[in-house]
């Protein structure tokens, strides 16, 4: 049984370990991904960690041509846009994620509703390993 606090820091540690985790309230079954330390449904807040299966479908997306400096540093630009989106998991919760292995220059080929599978993008930064949650076409 995982004993880590139900926090964004834990959520990111789990991503580093290639696990997409949420918190579930044992009292009312409400699911929160990313995790919440407070059950905002029943306020009993008797939480436990649950791992998502990593399957879902695309709810919304965008192909970003003008990104922040951190994305430009990764090689993305007007000619090479990256895709970010919102993914509805099989478990019902939605998460923000990069959408990988799709063509940002051809947005018509990316469809709301398309099935996706989780993928973890690892990067070594100055502050150690950092993992970005991503999904790819299933």
């Amino acid at each position: 049984m995982e004993q880590r606090p139900f926090s964004d820091i834990s959520y990111e540690q789990f991503l580093n370990e290639e696990k997409l985790m949420g918190s579930k309230c044992k009292a009312c079954d409400a699911l929160f991904v990313p995790p919440k330390p407070i059950c905002t449904k029943c306020y009993k807040s008797d939480m436990e960690w649950v791992e998502m299966r990593g399957k879902g479908k695309l709810s919304a997306f965008t192909c970003i041509a003008i990104g922040p400096p951190s994305m430009i540093a990764e090689g993305y630009n007007r000619k090479n846009p990256y895709v970010s989106g919102v993914v509805e998991l099989e478990e019902g919760a939605r998460v923000d994620a990069r959408i990988d292995e799709v063509d940002g220059n051809n947005p018509e080929s990316i469809k709301v509703g398309m099935p996706l599978a989780v993928k973890f993008l690892h990067k070594e930064g100055e502050e150690g390993a950092k993992t970005t949650l991503a999904f790819k076409p299933a």
Binding site: A60, I64, G67, P68, G85, V86, D96, V112, T132
Partner: protein
């Protein structure tokens, strides 16, 4: 459900000012606020002694990032000679000055103060486009920023959800852009004063001059479809779907309703105010509306006793074309999923049944984020007093106008209804 609320004491607007909006290399935050303040003083019909102002509330989102200076309350206070009386900065991302307005209203309604200056300011043009995108993205929900979402990206994603649910497409967003660009040339303070047709013709002339073959654009939409003329920022948001980077300031003088006639025979009254908070895209129930806007609207309608059909015109927070579409539905002007058809039919044009963003909107008037909320109310105030000149709403007995301001991914939304009696 929002509770039914009322003010303990009525509040009136007796003066208002707004700087020109634009990118000003040689002017800073204080310069644009001074411009707005001077216009506000001159606008008070029977005059006002600024020493009578009890308190100042000034909205600013993130000059901390844009010009590396925080703590704008006392800086603006000193600028206008308000020291040592109190000055408070409010922050609600792009809704920062709508919050200043609300604080001012509450301060008077409580009976604590009689006269309050509320304003907003932002200085964005000293940064590169990429840096501004990064600065604005500070107001996304943390999980959004971490996967690369910028604000054009957030609203691009919202657009794909709206398109998928209701069958709208980019062509409908172009109707909004074209409408805003038609209003803006009539607003002397607007940052962009050219219609899309004028822009198209100017672009053609400039290409011709350079000896580059001019594409044959049939009409405005044909121009907007051309990815060279209208490149992608965050698909489906293209350049002409996005508001610009702007500097600017706005302010308003509020007094107790009982004192209003001491300053003008034509005060504008606060009929309803509402504010809501919202979650990020991943956590909201449905990405095709903003729950914070709906809550704010319910609160403002409840307080005023008015209904959406009573609103004669409105400014709404069109940071992106899709945003305008969503707001006109959330505010009840059109049913969910019907807004794009109403826009297509011209309902929101200046001469339509429900004029929206007569100022040119954030898209063309400009969007110095912290100044925007009160600049929207400035437009409503100007229209209600019949002083909007060429962009005056052509309706008889103009009495009720409203403004909607949004911050972040719908994290902070306000709706304010003003009334001329």
């Amino acid at each position: 459900m929002a509770k039914r609320r009322k003010l303990g004491r009525g509040v009136a607007i007796v003066g208002a000012g707004m700087s020109k909006f634009g990118m000003f290399r040689d002017r800073d935050t204080k310069d644009v606020f001074a411009e707005a303040f001077n216009e506000m003083l001159a606008s008070v019909d029977k005059g006002v002694d600024p020493k009578e102002i009890d308190a100042l509330y000034v909205g600013n989102f993130t000059n901390d990032f844009f010009v590396h200076q925080s703590h704008w309350g006392p800086i603006v206070s000193d600028l206008i000679g308000h020291v040592p009386r109190p000055a408070t900065r409010t922050e609600g991302a792009c809704a920062s000055s709508a919050l200043a307005f609300r604080e001012g209203v509450f301060a008077i309604a409580s009976g604590f103060y009689d006269m309050v200056l509320v304003g907003g300011v932002e200085e964005m043009s000293k940064r590169t486009t990429e840096e501004v995108a990064e600065g604005l993205a500070l107001a996304t929900v943390p999980y959004e920023g971490k996967v690369g979402f910028t604000f054009p990206g957030v609203f691009g994603a919202v657009a794909t959800a709206y398109f998928a649910k209701y069958g709208a497409n980019r062509e409908h967003l172009m109707d909004i852009t074209i409408k805003s660009h038609n209003n803006a040339p009539l607003n002397p303070k607007a940052q962009f004063k050219l219609s899309i047709r004028d822009l198209m013709n100017a672009k053609a002339a400039s290409l011709e001059k350079k000896g580059i073959p001019v594409p044959e654009w049939k009409d405005e939409k044909d121009f907007l479809r051309d990815p060279k003329a209208n490149p992608v920022v965050a698909w489906p948001m293209h350049l002409y779907d996005c508001c610009p980077i702007s500097d600017g300031a706005s302010c308003m003088l509020l007094v107790g309703e009982d004192m209003a006639k001491n300053f003008t025979d034509d005060p504008i009254y606060v009929a309803g105010i509402g504010q809501g908070s919202g979650r990020g895209l991943h956590a909201c129930d449905d990405m095709t509306y903003f729950e914070a806007t709906r809550y704010a609207a319910e609160e403002a309608y409840g307080m005023s006793g008015l209904k959406p059909e009573d609103i004669q015109f409105s400014e709404v927070h069109d940071c992106f074309s899709i945003a305008e579409l969503i707001h006109i539905e959330d505010l009840g002007f059109f049913k969910p999923g019907q807004g794009f058809k109403a826009v297509e039919e011209g309902a929101t044009r200046l001469d339509g049944p429900m004029p929206v963003n007569t100022s040119g909107g954030l898209k063309c008037k400009g969007h110095p984020v912290g100044a925007t909320g009160i600049s929207q109310l400035y437009e409503v105030w100007t229209q209600l007093r019949g002083k909007a000149d060429k962009r005056q709403v052509p309706k008889k007995d103009l009495r009720i106008g409203a403004a909607h301001n949004l911050g972040g991914t719908g994290g902070t939304c306000t709706f304010t209804i003003l009334e001329r009696r």
